[in-house]
Protein backbone atom coordinates (compact mmCIF):
# COMPACT_ATOMS: atom_id res chain seq x y z
CA UNK A 1 0.00 0.00 0.00
CA UNK A 2 1.33 3.43 -0.96
CA UNK A 3 0.80 6.17 1.63
CA UNK A 4 1.88 9.77 1.67
CA UNK A 5 2.38 12.52 4.22
CA UNK A 6 2.40 16.23 3.49
CA UNK A 7 3.70 18.69 6.08
CA UNK A 8 2.89 22.35 5.40
CA UNK A 9 5.00 24.37 7.81
CA UNK A 10 5.46 28.08 8.34
CA UNK A 11 8.30 28.31 5.83
CA UNK A 12 8.62 25.01 3.94
CA UNK A 13 6.34 22.32 2.55
CA UNK A 14 7.50 18.72 2.83
CA UNK A 15 6.22 15.44 1.43
CA UNK A 16 7.10 11.78 2.01
CA UNK A 17 5.89 8.70 0.15
CA UNK A 18 6.03 5.17 1.58
CA UNK A 19 5.12 1.73 0.39
CA UNK A 20 5.14 -1.51 2.35
CA UNK A 21 8.90 -1.78 1.95
CA UNK A 22 9.69 1.66 3.36
CA UNK A 23 10.45 5.24 2.30
CA UNK A 24 10.22 5.72 -1.46
CA UNK A 25 10.73 9.46 -1.90
CA UNK A 26 10.72 12.84 -0.22
CA UNK A 27 10.46 16.45 -1.39
CA UNK A 28 10.87 19.87 0.16
CA UNK A 29 9.95 23.31 -1.24
CA UNK A 30 9.28 26.78 0.13
CA UNK A 31 5.64 27.01 1.21
CA UNK A 32 5.14 30.55 -0.10
CA UNK A 33 1.86 32.35 0.44
CA UNK A 34 -0.36 29.83 -1.38
CA UNK A 35 -0.26 26.83 0.95
CA UNK A 36 -2.79 24.81 -1.03
CA UNK A 37 -0.70 25.12 -4.21
CA UNK A 38 2.49 24.30 -2.32
CA UNK A 39 0.89 21.14 -0.96
CA UNK A 40 0.03 19.92 -4.45
CA UNK A 41 3.43 20.86 -5.81
CA UNK A 42 5.50 19.20 -3.11
CA UNK A 43 3.46 16.01 -3.33
CA UNK A 44 3.83 16.01 -7.12
CA UNK A 45 7.58 16.22 -6.75
CA UNK A 46 7.78 13.36 -4.30
CA UNK A 47 5.50 11.23 -6.47
CA UNK A 48 7.55 12.01 -9.60
CA UNK A 49 10.67 10.94 -7.76
CA UNK A 50 8.98 7.69 -6.75
CA UNK A 51 7.58 7.19 -10.27
CA UNK A 52 4.02 7.10 -8.97
CA UNK A 53 0.76 8.86 -9.79
CA UNK A 54 -1.70 10.50 -7.40
CA UNK A 55 -4.20 7.73 -7.98
CA UNK A 56 -1.79 5.20 -6.52
CA UNK A 57 -1.83 6.81 -3.08
CA UNK A 58 -4.06 4.70 -0.86
CA UNK A 59 -4.08 7.17 2.03
CA UNK A 60 -2.80 10.71 2.48
CA UNK A 61 -2.29 12.41 5.87
CA UNK A 62 -1.71 16.16 6.13
CA UNK A 63 0.10 17.86 8.98
CA UNK A 64 1.69 21.20 9.91
CA UNK A 65 0.08 24.62 10.25
CA UNK A 66 -1.34 24.38 6.73
CA UNK A 67 -2.74 20.88 7.22
CA UNK A 68 -6.31 21.91 6.58
CA UNK A 69 -5.31 23.36 3.20
CA UNK A 70 -4.05 20.08 1.77
CA UNK A 71 -6.52 18.98 -0.89
CA UNK A 72 -7.44 15.30 -0.93
CA UNK A 73 -6.10 14.50 2.54
CA UNK A 74 -7.87 11.56 4.18
CA UNK A 75 -7.02 12.89 7.60
CA UNK A 76 -5.26 15.75 9.34
CA UNK A 77 -2.94 15.09 12.28
CA UNK A 78 -0.95 17.66 14.24
CA UNK A 79 2.76 18.02 13.60
CA UNK A 80 3.40 17.12 17.25
CA UNK A 81 2.02 13.61 16.78
CA UNK A 82 3.66 13.30 13.34
CA UNK A 83 7.13 14.40 14.49
CA UNK A 84 6.99 11.89 17.33
CA UNK A 85 6.02 9.10 14.93
CA UNK A 86 8.57 10.21 12.33
CA UNK A 87 11.40 10.49 14.86
CA UNK A 88 10.54 7.05 16.23
CA UNK A 89 10.90 5.64 12.71
CA UNK A 90 14.14 7.51 11.97
CA UNK A 91 15.71 6.89 15.39
CA UNK A 92 14.18 3.87 17.15
CA UNK A 93 14.41 4.16 20.93
CA UNK A 94 13.81 7.91 20.94
CA UNK A 95 12.33 9.25 24.18
CA UNK A 96 12.51 13.00 23.58
CA UNK A 97 11.97 14.90 20.34
CA UNK A 98 12.96 18.55 20.03
CA UNK A 99 11.41 20.01 16.90
CA UNK A 100 12.57 23.51 15.97
CA UNK A 101 10.75 24.83 12.96
CA UNK A 102 10.41 28.16 11.26
CA UNK A 103 7.66 29.47 13.47
CA UNK A 104 7.74 27.46 16.65
CA UNK A 105 9.64 24.97 18.72
CA UNK A 106 8.33 21.94 20.56
CA UNK A 107 9.51 19.38 23.05
CA UNK A 108 7.80 16.01 22.84
CA UNK A 109 8.04 13.11 25.31
CA UNK A 110 7.74 9.93 23.24
CA UNK A 111 6.61 6.50 24.38
CA UNK A 112 6.41 3.12 22.75
CA UNK A 113 5.69 3.05 19.00
CA UNK A 114 6.30 6.79 18.80
CA UNK A 115 3.24 7.77 20.78
CA UNK A 116 3.13 11.24 22.34
CA UNK A 117 3.15 11.12 26.15
CA UNK A 118 3.42 14.86 26.76
CA UNK A 119 4.52 17.97 24.91
CA UNK A 120 5.46 21.61 25.34
CA UNK A 121 5.37 24.31 22.72
CA UNK A 122 6.69 27.84 22.56
CA UNK A 123 4.28 30.71 22.85
CA UNK A 124 3.57 32.87 19.85
CA UNK A 125 6.84 34.79 20.18
CA UNK A 126 9.52 33.94 17.62
CA UNK A 127 12.33 33.47 20.14
CA UNK A 128 13.71 29.95 20.03
CA UNK A 129 12.61 29.33 16.45
CA UNK A 130 14.07 29.33 12.97
CA UNK A 131 12.68 32.81 12.46
CA UNK A 132 14.98 34.08 15.21
CA UNK A 133 18.00 32.70 13.33
CA UNK A 134 16.76 34.14 10.04
CA UNK A 135 16.37 37.61 11.49
CA UNK A 136 19.81 37.47 13.09
CA UNK A 137 21.53 36.10 9.97
CA UNK A 138 19.96 38.91 7.98
CA UNK A 139 21.11 41.52 10.51
CA UNK A 140 24.67 40.17 10.34
CA UNK A 141 24.64 39.64 6.53
CA UNK A 142 25.50 35.97 6.82
CA UNK A 143 24.10 33.14 4.70
CA UNK A 144 21.83 31.02 6.90
CA UNK A 145 23.59 27.86 5.65
CA UNK A 146 26.90 29.01 7.17
CA UNK A 147 25.40 30.37 10.37
CA UNK A 148 25.86 27.30 12.57
CA UNK A 149 29.44 26.60 11.51
CA UNK A 150 30.43 30.22 12.13
CA UNK A 151 28.99 29.91 15.63
CA UNK A 152 31.03 26.78 16.33
CA UNK A 153 34.22 28.34 14.97
CA UNK A 154 34.09 31.34 17.29
CA UNK A 155 36.49 31.20 20.27
CA UNK A 156 34.10 33.06 22.58
CA UNK A 157 30.42 33.90 22.78
CA UNK A 158 29.09 37.43 23.01
CA UNK A 159 26.43 37.78 25.67
CA UNK A 160 22.91 37.94 24.23
CA UNK A 161 20.68 38.14 27.27
CA UNK A 162 17.30 38.79 25.72
CA UNK A 163 15.09 35.95 24.59
CA UNK A 164 12.96 38.31 22.51
CA UNK A 165 13.84 38.40 18.81
CA UNK A 166 13.30 42.13 18.51
CA UNK A 167 15.24 43.03 21.64
CA UNK A 168 17.97 40.52 20.81
CA UNK A 169 18.41 42.21 17.44
CA UNK A 170 18.95 45.54 19.17
CA UNK A 171 21.48 43.82 21.47
CA UNK A 172 23.29 42.56 18.37
CA UNK A 173 23.40 46.09 16.99
CA UNK A 174 24.83 47.30 20.31
CA UNK A 175 27.54 44.63 20.12
CA UNK A 176 28.36 45.65 16.52
CA UNK A 177 28.53 49.28 17.53
CA UNK A 178 30.99 48.31 20.26
CA UNK A 179 33.18 46.58 17.64
CA UNK A 180 32.53 43.01 18.80
CA UNK A 181 33.65 40.16 16.55
CA UNK A 182 30.89 38.93 14.25
CA UNK A 183 31.65 35.27 14.93
CA UNK A 184 31.36 35.82 18.66
CA UNK A 185 28.02 37.55 18.22
CA UNK A 186 26.83 34.64 16.07
CA UNK A 187 27.97 32.20 18.77
CA UNK A 188 26.07 34.27 21.36
CA UNK A 189 22.92 34.14 19.23
CA UNK A 190 23.13 30.35 19.01
CA UNK A 191 23.69 30.15 22.76
CA UNK A 192 20.58 32.26 23.32
CA UNK A 193 18.35 30.08 21.15
CA UNK A 194 19.73 26.90 22.78
CA UNK A 195 19.08 28.32 26.25
CA UNK A 196 15.55 29.29 25.33
CA UNK A 197 14.70 25.88 23.86
CA UNK A 198 16.40 23.96 26.70
CA UNK A 199 14.38 25.89 29.29
CA UNK A 200 11.15 25.14 27.49
CA UNK A 201 11.96 21.45 26.95
CA UNK A 202 12.84 21.15 30.65
CA UNK A 203 9.11 21.18 31.41
CA UNK A 204 8.85 17.60 30.11
CA UNK A 205 11.08 14.66 31.06
CA UNK A 206 14.20 14.80 28.82
CA UNK A 207 15.46 11.25 28.44
CA UNK A 208 18.05 9.66 26.22
CA UNK A 209 17.69 9.23 23.25
CA UNK A 210 17.09 12.88 22.36
CA UNK A 211 16.37 13.56 18.68
CA UNK A 212 16.39 16.98 17.02
CA UNK A 213 13.97 17.49 14.10
CA UNK A 214 12.69 20.43 12.05
CA UNK A 215 14.60 22.76 9.76
CA UNK A 216 16.84 24.14 12.50
CA UNK A 217 18.19 20.62 13.13
CA UNK A 218 20.48 21.25 10.15
CA UNK A 219 22.18 24.03 12.09
CA UNK A 220 25.10 22.28 13.80
CA UNK A 221 25.64 25.22 16.14
CA UNK A 222 22.18 24.96 17.68
CA UNK A 223 22.49 21.17 18.01
CA UNK A 224 25.88 21.39 19.75
CA UNK A 225 24.83 24.14 22.14
CA UNK A 226 21.61 22.32 22.97
CA UNK A 227 23.70 19.29 23.91
CA UNK A 228 25.68 21.51 26.27
CA UNK A 229 22.59 23.00 27.86
CA UNK A 230 20.77 19.68 28.27
CA UNK A 231 23.88 17.70 29.20
CA UNK A 232 22.75 14.95 26.84
CA UNK A 233 23.88 13.81 23.40
CA UNK A 234 21.51 14.77 20.61
CA UNK A 235 20.87 12.71 17.49
CA UNK A 236 20.16 14.56 14.25
CA UNK A 237 18.73 12.09 11.72
CA UNK A 238 19.41 12.49 8.01
CA UNK A 239 15.79 13.39 7.29
CA UNK A 240 15.37 15.64 10.34
CA UNK A 241 13.45 18.33 8.47
CA UNK A 242 11.17 15.70 6.93
CA UNK A 243 10.27 13.96 10.18
CA UNK A 244 6.76 15.45 10.21
CA UNK A 245 5.97 14.36 6.64
CA UNK A 246 7.47 10.92 7.27
CA UNK A 247 5.42 10.57 10.46
CA UNK A 248 2.28 11.59 8.57
CA UNK A 249 2.90 8.97 5.87
CA UNK A 250 3.47 6.31 8.54
CA UNK A 251 0.29 7.30 10.40
CA UNK A 252 -1.52 6.97 7.07
CA UNK A 253 -0.15 3.42 6.87
CA UNK A 254 -1.05 2.60 10.49
Amino acid sequence: MVTAGVDIGAITAKAAVFDDEGLLATALILAGYDRAAAALQVLDRALAQAGLAHEQIARLVATGYGRVQVAGADRTVTEITCHARGAHHLCPGVHTVIDIGGQDSKGIAVGAAGKVLDFVMNDKCAAGTGRFLEVMAHALEVDLVDFGQLALAAPRRARISSTCTVFAESEVITHLAAGADRGEIIAGIHGAIAARVATMVGRIPVRDRVVLTGGVAHNAGVARMLEEKLGQPITVPEHAQLAGAIGAALIARD
Binding site: Y65, V77, T78, E79, I80, T81, D104, K115, V116, L117, D118, F119, M121, D123, K124
Partner: protein, 387 residues
Protein backbone atom coordinates in the same frame (compact mmCIF):
# COMPACT_ATOMS: atom_id res chain seq x y z
CA UNK B 1 -45.56 24.16 29.18
CA UNK B 2 -43.46 25.85 26.52
CA UNK B 3 -43.21 29.62 26.61
CA UNK B 4 -45.82 31.33 24.46
CA UNK B 5 -43.19 32.41 21.97
CA UNK B 6 -42.22 28.82 21.25
CA UNK B 7 -44.06 26.45 18.97
CA UNK B 8 -45.14 23.07 20.31
CA UNK B 9 -43.83 21.20 17.30
CA UNK B 10 -40.34 21.61 15.96
CA UNK B 11 -39.10 21.83 12.45
CA UNK B 12 -35.63 23.14 13.32
CA UNK B 13 -32.95 21.90 15.63
CA UNK B 14 -34.18 22.47 19.18
CA UNK B 15 -30.81 23.50 20.59
CA UNK B 16 -30.26 26.10 17.90
CA UNK B 17 -33.84 27.27 18.36
CA UNK B 18 -33.32 27.82 22.10
CA UNK B 19 -29.96 29.56 21.55
CA UNK B 20 -31.49 31.81 18.93
CA UNK B 21 -34.30 32.79 21.31
CA UNK B 22 -31.88 33.48 24.16
CA UNK B 23 -29.71 35.64 21.91
CA UNK B 24 -32.78 37.55 20.78
CA UNK B 25 -33.67 38.16 24.42
CA UNK B 26 -30.16 39.56 25.05
CA UNK B 27 -30.37 41.86 22.00
CA UNK B 28 -33.83 42.94 23.09
CA UNK B 29 -32.57 43.81 26.56
CA UNK B 30 -29.70 45.83 25.10
CA UNK B 31 -31.66 47.72 22.47
CA UNK B 32 -35.20 48.13 23.74
CA UNK B 33 -35.10 47.54 27.46
CA UNK B 34 -35.55 50.33 29.96
CA UNK B 35 -32.03 51.78 30.02
CA UNK B 36 -32.11 52.19 33.76
CA UNK B 37 -33.25 48.63 34.48
CA UNK B 38 -30.01 46.84 33.68
CA UNK B 39 -27.17 46.45 36.15
CA UNK B 40 -23.71 45.36 35.06
CA UNK B 41 -21.49 43.10 37.11
CA UNK B 42 -18.06 41.50 37.07
CA UNK B 43 -16.43 38.72 39.09
CA UNK B 44 -17.76 35.43 40.37
CA UNK B 45 -19.13 36.53 43.75
CA UNK B 46 -21.66 39.29 43.12
CA UNK B 47 -25.00 38.47 44.85
CA UNK B 48 -27.11 39.16 41.78
CA UNK B 49 -30.32 38.45 43.69
CA UNK B 50 -30.05 41.71 45.68
CA UNK B 51 -30.07 43.75 42.48
CA UNK B 52 -32.84 41.66 40.99
CA UNK B 53 -34.97 42.16 44.12
CA UNK B 54 -34.57 45.92 43.63
CA UNK B 55 -36.10 45.53 40.18
CA UNK B 56 -32.91 45.44 38.10
CA UNK B 57 -31.71 42.87 35.58
CA UNK B 58 -28.10 41.97 36.42
CA UNK B 59 -25.99 41.31 33.31
CA UNK B 60 -22.38 40.16 33.27
CA UNK B 61 -20.19 42.50 31.22
CA UNK B 62 -18.31 40.15 28.89
CA UNK B 63 -15.37 41.40 26.89
CA UNK B 64 -16.00 42.48 23.32
CA UNK B 65 -13.61 42.14 20.41
CA UNK B 66 -13.90 45.80 19.38
CA UNK B 67 -11.52 47.21 21.97
CA UNK B 68 -10.99 50.93 21.38
CA UNK B 69 -7.93 51.18 23.60
CA UNK B 70 -9.38 53.64 26.14
CA UNK B 71 -8.51 51.43 29.11
CA UNK B 72 -4.81 51.41 28.26
CA UNK B 73 -4.46 54.87 29.76
CA UNK B 74 -5.47 53.43 33.14
CA UNK B 75 -4.52 49.76 33.27
CA UNK B 76 -1.14 48.12 32.57
CA UNK B 77 -0.81 46.04 29.41
CA UNK B 78 -0.78 42.76 31.28
CA UNK B 79 -4.21 43.30 32.79
CA UNK B 80 -6.75 40.63 31.89
CA UNK B 81 -9.38 41.33 29.27
CA UNK B 82 -12.20 40.97 31.81
CA UNK B 83 -11.16 44.19 33.53
CA UNK B 84 -9.68 45.87 30.46
CA UNK B 85 -12.66 45.38 28.19
CA UNK B 86 -15.25 46.43 30.79
CA UNK B 87 -13.36 49.66 31.43
CA UNK B 88 -12.86 50.23 27.72
CA UNK B 89 -16.58 49.78 27.04
CA UNK B 90 -17.44 52.15 29.91
CA UNK B 91 -14.98 54.85 28.77
CA UNK B 92 -16.26 54.51 25.19
CA UNK B 93 -19.77 55.25 26.45
CA UNK B 94 -21.10 51.84 25.52
CA UNK B 95 -22.30 51.07 29.05
CA UNK B 96 -24.09 54.37 29.60
CA UNK B 97 -27.43 52.56 29.69
CA UNK B 98 -26.49 50.73 32.88
CA UNK B 99 -28.09 51.82 36.15
CA UNK B 100 -24.89 50.79 37.90
CA UNK B 101 -22.02 48.37 38.05
CA UNK B 102 -21.23 45.80 40.73
CA UNK B 103 -17.87 44.25 41.60
CA UNK B 104 -16.97 41.75 44.29
CA UNK B 105 -13.49 41.69 45.74
CA UNK B 106 -11.49 38.94 44.11
CA UNK B 107 -8.06 39.73 42.64
CA UNK B 108 -5.82 42.81 42.76
CA UNK B 109 -6.86 43.79 39.26
CA UNK B 110 -10.53 43.94 40.21
CA UNK B 111 -9.65 45.84 43.37
CA UNK B 112 -7.68 48.35 41.29
CA UNK B 113 -10.50 48.58 38.77
CA UNK B 114 -12.83 49.70 41.57
CA UNK B 115 -10.78 52.84 42.22
CA UNK B 116 -10.17 53.53 38.53
CA UNK B 117 -13.87 53.17 37.80
CA UNK B 118 -14.89 55.58 40.55
CA UNK B 119 -12.47 58.22 39.31
CA UNK B 120 -13.10 57.87 35.59
CA UNK B 121 -16.59 56.44 35.11
CA UNK B 122 -18.35 58.38 37.84
CA UNK B 123 -21.61 58.57 35.89
CA UNK B 124 -22.10 54.80 36.29
CA UNK B 125 -22.23 54.24 40.06
CA UNK B 126 -20.08 51.37 41.24
CA UNK B 127 -21.11 48.99 44.00
CA UNK B 128 -18.17 47.26 45.60
CA UNK B 129 -18.85 44.11 47.55
CA UNK B 130 -16.25 42.91 50.03
CA UNK B 131 -16.15 39.17 49.62
CA UNK B 132 -13.84 37.78 52.33
CA UNK B 133 -10.55 36.15 51.37
CA UNK B 134 -10.74 33.30 53.88
CA UNK B 135 -14.04 31.52 53.47
CA UNK B 136 -13.53 29.13 56.38
CA UNK B 137 -12.71 31.56 59.16
CA UNK B 138 -15.33 32.00 61.92
CA UNK B 139 -15.57 35.72 61.20
CA UNK B 140 -16.08 35.26 57.43
CA UNK B 141 -19.85 34.78 57.75
CA UNK B 142 -20.22 37.72 60.15
CA UNK B 143 -18.22 39.93 57.80
CA UNK B 144 -20.08 38.73 54.74
CA UNK B 145 -23.47 39.37 56.36
CA UNK B 146 -22.39 42.90 57.25
CA UNK B 147 -21.27 43.42 53.63
CA UNK B 148 -24.59 42.12 52.30
CA UNK B 149 -26.55 44.44 54.63
CA UNK B 150 -24.36 47.33 53.60
CA UNK B 151 -24.81 46.49 49.91
CA UNK B 152 -28.59 46.37 50.37
CA UNK B 153 -28.56 49.79 52.05
CA UNK B 154 -26.27 51.16 49.35
CA UNK B 155 -28.61 49.95 46.60
CA UNK B 156 -31.60 51.44 48.38
CA UNK B 157 -29.89 54.78 49.02
CA UNK B 158 -28.51 55.23 45.54
CA UNK B 159 -31.42 53.94 43.47
CA UNK B 160 -34.30 54.83 45.74
CA UNK B 161 -35.65 51.30 45.30
CA UNK B 162 -36.49 49.18 48.34
CA UNK B 163 -35.12 45.66 48.68
CA UNK B 164 -37.68 43.95 50.90
CA UNK B 165 -37.24 40.43 52.24
CA UNK B 166 -40.18 38.96 50.35
CA UNK B 167 -38.93 40.30 47.03
CA UNK B 168 -35.46 38.99 47.83
CA UNK B 169 -36.85 35.55 48.64
CA UNK B 170 -38.65 35.60 45.31
CA UNK B 171 -35.43 36.53 43.50
CA UNK B 172 -33.51 33.78 45.28
CA UNK B 173 -36.16 31.25 44.26
CA UNK B 174 -35.94 32.46 40.64
CA UNK B 175 -32.13 32.25 40.65
CA UNK B 176 -32.25 28.84 42.29
CA UNK B 177 -34.34 27.66 39.39
CA UNK B 178 -31.77 29.05 36.94
CA UNK B 179 -29.00 27.32 38.86
CA UNK B 180 -30.89 24.03 38.88
CA UNK B 181 -31.45 24.30 35.12
CA UNK B 182 -27.81 25.12 34.38
CA UNK B 183 -26.77 22.18 36.52
CA UNK B 184 -29.05 19.96 34.44
CA UNK B 185 -27.40 21.33 31.30
CA UNK B 186 -23.97 20.55 32.71
CA UNK B 187 -24.99 17.06 33.79
CA UNK B 188 -25.48 16.40 30.06
CA UNK B 189 -22.68 18.74 28.93
CA UNK B 190 -20.93 16.19 26.76
CA UNK B 191 -24.13 15.67 24.80
CA UNK B 192 -24.00 19.20 23.43
CA UNK B 193 -21.67 20.48 20.74
CA UNK B 194 -19.15 22.60 22.74
CA UNK B 195 -20.10 25.91 21.04
CA UNK B 196 -23.76 25.21 21.90
CA UNK B 197 -22.93 24.49 25.53
CA UNK B 198 -20.96 27.75 25.59
CA UNK B 199 -23.88 29.73 24.15
CA UNK B 200 -26.41 28.19 26.54
CA UNK B 201 -24.34 28.79 29.68
CA UNK B 202 -23.15 32.25 28.66
CA UNK B 203 -26.76 33.26 28.10
CA UNK B 204 -27.43 32.54 31.78
CA UNK B 205 -25.19 35.53 32.60
CA UNK B 206 -26.87 37.87 30.13
CA UNK B 207 -30.53 37.00 29.79
CA UNK B 208 -33.25 38.00 32.25
CA UNK B 209 -33.62 34.91 34.40
CA UNK B 210 -37.38 34.73 33.84
CA UNK B 211 -36.82 34.37 30.09
CA UNK B 212 -33.81 32.09 30.49
CA UNK B 213 -35.61 29.69 32.77
CA UNK B 214 -38.53 29.31 30.37
CA UNK B 215 -36.38 28.61 27.33
CA UNK B 216 -33.91 26.26 28.97
CA UNK B 217 -36.61 24.33 30.84
CA UNK B 218 -38.37 23.88 27.52
CA UNK B 219 -35.17 22.77 25.84
CA UNK B 220 -34.41 20.21 28.53
CA UNK B 221 -37.89 18.75 28.21
CA UNK B 222 -37.44 17.94 24.53
CA UNK B 223 -37.15 14.19 24.18
CA UNK B 224 -35.12 14.24 20.99
CA UNK B 225 -32.36 16.62 22.03
CA UNK B 226 -29.64 16.64 22.87
CA UNK B 227 -28.59 13.36 21.29
CA UNK B 228 -27.43 10.61 23.62
CA UNK B 229 -23.78 10.08 24.32
CA UNK B 230 -23.72 6.97 22.18
CA UNK B 231 -24.23 9.18 19.15
CA UNK B 232 -20.96 10.96 19.90
CA UNK B 233 -18.93 7.79 19.45
CA UNK B 234 -15.50 7.94 21.02
CA UNK B 235 -15.15 11.72 21.20
CA UNK B 236 -12.61 12.62 23.89
CA UNK B 237 -14.27 14.33 26.86
CA UNK B 238 -12.41 17.21 28.47
CA UNK B 239 -12.99 19.50 31.43
CA UNK B 240 -12.02 23.18 31.21
CA UNK B 241 -10.42 25.03 34.10
CA UNK B 242 -9.91 28.78 34.17
CA UNK B 243 -11.49 32.15 34.66
CA UNK B 244 -14.58 32.38 32.57
CA UNK B 245 -16.58 32.05 29.43
CA UNK B 246 -15.11 35.22 27.96
CA UNK B 247 -14.06 33.77 24.67
CA UNK B 248 -15.77 31.02 22.65
CA UNK B 249 -12.56 30.18 20.79
CA UNK B 250 -11.58 27.35 23.13
CA UNK B 251 -14.99 25.69 22.85
CA UNK B 252 -14.78 26.02 19.06
CA UNK B 253 -11.30 24.53 18.99
CA UNK B 254 -12.32 21.58 21.19
CA UNK B 255 -15.22 20.95 18.82
CA UNK B 256 -13.00 21.18 15.73
CA UNK B 257 -10.59 18.72 17.32
CA UNK B 258 -13.48 16.28 17.65
CA UNK B 259 -13.80 16.64 21.42
CA UNK B 260 -16.59 17.35 23.89
CA UNK B 261 -16.63 19.59 26.93
CA UNK B 262 -17.93 17.38 29.73
CA UNK B 263 -17.90 20.12 32.38
CA UNK B 264 -15.74 22.85 33.78
CA UNK B 265 -14.19 24.49 36.79
CA UNK B 266 -14.34 27.99 35.34
CA UNK B 267 -14.88 30.79 37.85
CA UNK B 268 -17.80 31.89 35.72
CA UNK B 269 -18.97 28.49 34.62
CA UNK B 270 -20.35 25.42 36.29
CA UNK B 271 -19.19 26.37 39.82
CA UNK B 272 -21.03 29.70 39.59
CA UNK B 273 -24.28 27.74 39.45
CA UNK B 274 -23.24 25.22 42.04
CA UNK B 275 -25.51 24.81 45.01
CA UNK B 276 -23.60 22.71 47.47
CA UNK B 277 -25.42 24.27 50.39
CA UNK B 278 -28.12 22.66 52.48
CA UNK B 279 -31.61 23.68 51.51
CA UNK B 280 -30.63 25.36 48.26
CA UNK B 281 -33.70 24.39 46.36
CA UNK B 282 -36.32 26.50 44.63
CA UNK B 283 -38.61 26.01 47.61
CA UNK B 284 -36.17 26.29 50.50
CA UNK B 285 -35.37 29.92 49.98
CA UNK B 286 -38.99 30.83 49.75
CA UNK B 287 -39.49 30.10 53.46
CA UNK B 288 -41.01 33.17 55.03
CA UNK B 289 -39.14 32.90 58.32
CA UNK B 290 -35.61 32.68 56.89
CA UNK B 291 -33.31 35.68 56.65
CA UNK B 292 -32.60 35.84 52.92
CA UNK B 293 -29.28 37.61 53.50
CA UNK B 294 -28.10 34.69 55.62
CA UNK B 295 -29.12 32.31 52.86
CA UNK B 296 -27.14 34.35 50.32
CA UNK B 297 -24.11 34.44 52.63
CA UNK B 298 -24.20 30.70 53.24
CA UNK B 299 -24.37 30.00 49.54
CA UNK B 300 -21.45 32.30 48.66
CA UNK B 301 -19.30 30.70 51.37
CA UNK B 302 -20.18 27.18 50.28
CA UNK B 303 -19.39 27.60 46.59
CA UNK B 304 -16.26 25.88 45.32
CA UNK B 305 -13.76 28.71 45.89
CA UNK B 306 -12.11 30.54 43.01
CA UNK B 307 -8.28 30.75 43.15
CA UNK B 308 -8.60 34.18 44.80
CA UNK B 309 -10.16 32.66 47.91
CA UNK B 310 -9.06 30.22 50.57
CA UNK B 311 -11.02 27.44 52.21
CA UNK B 312 -9.13 24.70 54.04
CA UNK B 313 -11.94 22.17 53.69
CA UNK B 314 -12.87 22.92 50.10
CA UNK B 315 -10.04 21.85 47.84
CA UNK B 316 -10.33 22.89 44.22
CA UNK B 317 -8.12 19.98 43.22
CA UNK B 318 -10.35 17.48 45.04
CA UNK B 319 -13.39 19.00 43.38
CA UNK B 320 -11.73 18.77 39.96
CA UNK B 321 -10.77 15.13 40.48
CA UNK B 322 -14.29 14.31 41.56
CA UNK B 323 -15.63 16.04 38.45
CA UNK B 324 -13.20 14.04 36.28
CA UNK B 325 -14.62 10.81 37.69
CA UNK B 326 -18.24 11.89 37.63
CA UNK B 327 -18.15 13.03 33.99
CA UNK B 328 -15.79 10.29 32.79
CA UNK B 329 -13.41 12.97 31.51
CA UNK B 330 -10.41 11.83 29.48
CA UNK B 331 -8.37 14.95 30.21
CA UNK B 332 -8.33 18.50 31.53
CA UNK B 333 -7.50 21.73 29.70
CA UNK B 334 -6.35 24.67 31.80
CA UNK B 335 -7.33 27.83 29.92
CA UNK B 336 -5.44 30.60 31.66
CA UNK B 337 -5.68 34.22 30.77
CA UNK B 338 -2.15 35.38 30.21
CA UNK B 339 -0.62 37.03 33.29
CA UNK B 340 -3.48 35.95 35.58
CA UNK B 341 -1.54 35.25 38.79
CA UNK B 342 -4.31 33.61 40.87
CA UNK B 343 -4.90 31.00 38.19
CA UNK B 344 -1.14 30.69 37.62
CA UNK B 345 -0.54 29.66 41.23
CA UNK B 346 -3.67 27.49 41.22
CA UNK B 347 -2.49 25.62 38.12
CA UNK B 348 0.58 24.21 39.84
CA UNK B 349 -1.39 22.55 42.64
CA UNK B 350 -4.11 21.32 40.31
CA UNK B 351 -1.60 19.92 37.80
CA UNK B 352 0.23 18.05 40.57
CA UNK B 353 -3.06 16.53 41.76
CA UNK B 354 -3.93 15.43 38.21
CA UNK B 355 -0.44 13.97 37.71
CA UNK B 356 -0.81 11.91 40.87
CA UNK B 357 -4.17 10.64 39.65
CA UNK B 358 -2.80 9.93 36.15
CA UNK B 359 -5.16 12.38 34.44
CA UNK B 360 -3.67 13.99 31.29
CA UNK B 361 -3.82 17.78 31.20
CA UNK B 362 -2.86 20.67 28.95
CA UNK B 363 -2.16 24.32 29.77
CA UNK B 364 -3.08 26.96 27.20
CA UNK B 365 -2.80 30.69 27.67
CA UNK B 366 -5.42 32.94 26.17
CA UNK B 367 -5.14 36.57 25.21
CA UNK B 368 -7.72 38.96 23.91
CA UNK B 369 -6.35 38.59 20.39
CA UNK B 370 -7.06 34.90 19.86
CA UNK B 371 -4.29 32.80 18.41
CA UNK B 372 -6.63 30.15 17.09
CA UNK B 373 -3.94 28.48 14.92
CA UNK B 374 -1.52 27.64 17.73
CA UNK B 375 -4.35 26.95 20.14
CA UNK B 376 -5.85 24.49 17.70
CA UNK B 377 -2.54 22.67 17.25
CA UNK B 378 -2.12 22.36 21.02
CA UNK B 379 -5.65 21.15 21.66
CA UNK B 380 -5.66 18.74 18.72
CA UNK B 381 -2.30 17.28 19.75
CA UNK B 382 -3.66 16.88 23.28
CA UNK B 383 -6.70 15.04 21.93
CA UNK B 384 -4.47 12.81 19.80
CA UNK B 385 -2.42 12.05 22.90
CA UNK B 386 -5.37 10.96 25.03
CA UNK B 387 -5.71 7.20 25.43
Amino acid sequence: MPPETLPTSHTVDDVQFAICNLQSAICNLQSKGNPQSTFGFLTAYVPEELFHAAGFTPVFIFHTPDDEGHARAHLPGFTCWVAGSALDQALAGRLDGLAGMALAQTCDTMQGLTDIWRRNVAHIPLFHFGMPLRLDSPSARVYLLAELRSLREHIQALTGRRVVDDALRGSIALYNRTRALVRRLYARAADFAPPDLYALVRAAFQTPKETYNDHVAWLLEQPTIPPGREAQGSSPRVLLVGCGLADPVLFDVVAQAGGRVAGDLLDLGERYFDANVAGDSPQAHGQADSDPLETLADRLLALVPTPTKYHAQSSRAAHLLSLVRERHADGVIFARQKFCDPHGFDYVLMAQALDRAGVPHLLVELEQASQAGQLRTRVEAFMEMLP
